[in-house]
Symmetry: C2
Subunit: 260 residues, 2 copies
Amino acid sequence: STIAYPSFAEYEDACRVYQHALTFIAVEEVGHTQQMPDGDALWLAVPNNPTGTVQSRDTLDRLCRENPHTEVIVDTAYGELCPQCEPLTGLHEKQSNFISVHSLTKTFGIPGLRLGYVIARRDTIDALRALSVPWAVNALAQEAGSYVMQHYRDLLPDSNALCREAALFREQLRTVPHLTVYDSPCHFFLARLETKHTAAELKTFLINRYGLLIRDAANFRGLSPQHFRLSVQEPALNEALTDGLKEFTIHHSSLITHHS
Amino acid sequence: STIAYPSFAEYEDACRVYQHALTFIAVEEVGHTQQMPDGDALWLAVPNNPTGTVQSRDTLDRLCRENPHTEVIVDTAYGELCPQCEPLTGLHEKQSNFISVHSLTKTFGIPGLRLGYVIARRDTIDALRALSVPWAVNALAQEAGSYVMQHYRDLLPDSNALCREAALFREQLRTVPHLTVYDSPCHFFLARLETKHTAAELKTFLINRYGLLIRDAANFRGLSPQHFRLSVQEPALNEALTDGLKEFTIHHSSLITHHS
């Protein structure tokens, strides 16, 4: 298996459980290399998490065509919330090695229900079915999922508004000293502390003082202990987080000055 | 792996997915053989489904002791509903190769939530945790499970009453011609049609004519297409099922006479 990084540690963990030999490729390289590393499967998130990197439909099409012996598995969990992501419908008919994994729980705000689905050619689905746990989805989640699928367009959040709000949030955050904020076409994005203090310390600080939770990104391959991921929230919460970050970075940069 | 049969096809299916070499042992033999077949794991349900066969705590203790290189995995899904089943608490401390699998969904009437747990020695649990899917149980099921565990004794059904009712149901059923009804210490039990017609045909007949659902047991290893499993219900439903069975067996035994 080849895994595009930085990405969730779960892809890597799952591949190790099934004793795959692992190769890694930087997510920015995916659309640009001539030839992917040899491997039975490529694991890729579009948009990528936590960077928000997007691959075009053309890039994915070409990847499948140029690597006919590789299953190209695209996790689209955040796709519906990202206006830059093109719909991938129909790519499955064109490229038989294209597999997309979809999540309802992020898009429709029902993370507790753990609901998703896979689109792939029939024999891949049959093979997955044989491997899947009986009753993997419980009855309440099935009911909710059926409701969501019947009211899909009505329930879909306004992703343009969400990403505009995220851009405003990033502008606010750029007033925080000792902090790098990365661009992203999604409602989530990466940030990095430019101090010796870690995202883990920041996380504890923000929970204790502000009751706010950030995603420490230290366990993402290719990122550092200073990296963390933020998602846009209501304006009041975005402002509280900006204040909390300022308090932390100012306080801790002075600590560094004291000690060094 | 060794599987005690007849039992759910899922044990066998899961072992095949992981490419286990399979051996089978009749569930009645389990307590009586000198030595189990060689194997890394023994899969056994107590009480067994669909036969209701119970192994004593002493038998399980001895099985673990006499087969130290075998993980003895006991599915206790129906244990709390069977008055003959002894509690297995503490056996894990005594025998490190004893693993019990528990279900909350049968006992507490919440099958839709797919909730259960495993008791085993710490390193087995750690190994299972590494293999388990992230968020295997959703938030609603977790809430329900936590409620059940806090009110365990209060919510537990009266298993003695349930099994007395099942015994009355079996007596009723013994008035049905061309039908064998097996004893069981549980609220469920096996039955067999003594006609050329199958349980699958009976199932369709009962759904269409009575709106009643039986469990066709043809896919249980060691059973025939004439076998099916019944569970005790409210008296009115038990009576309706008895009537339906009579109608079927009388009607179809006359058909057999006509044709043979």
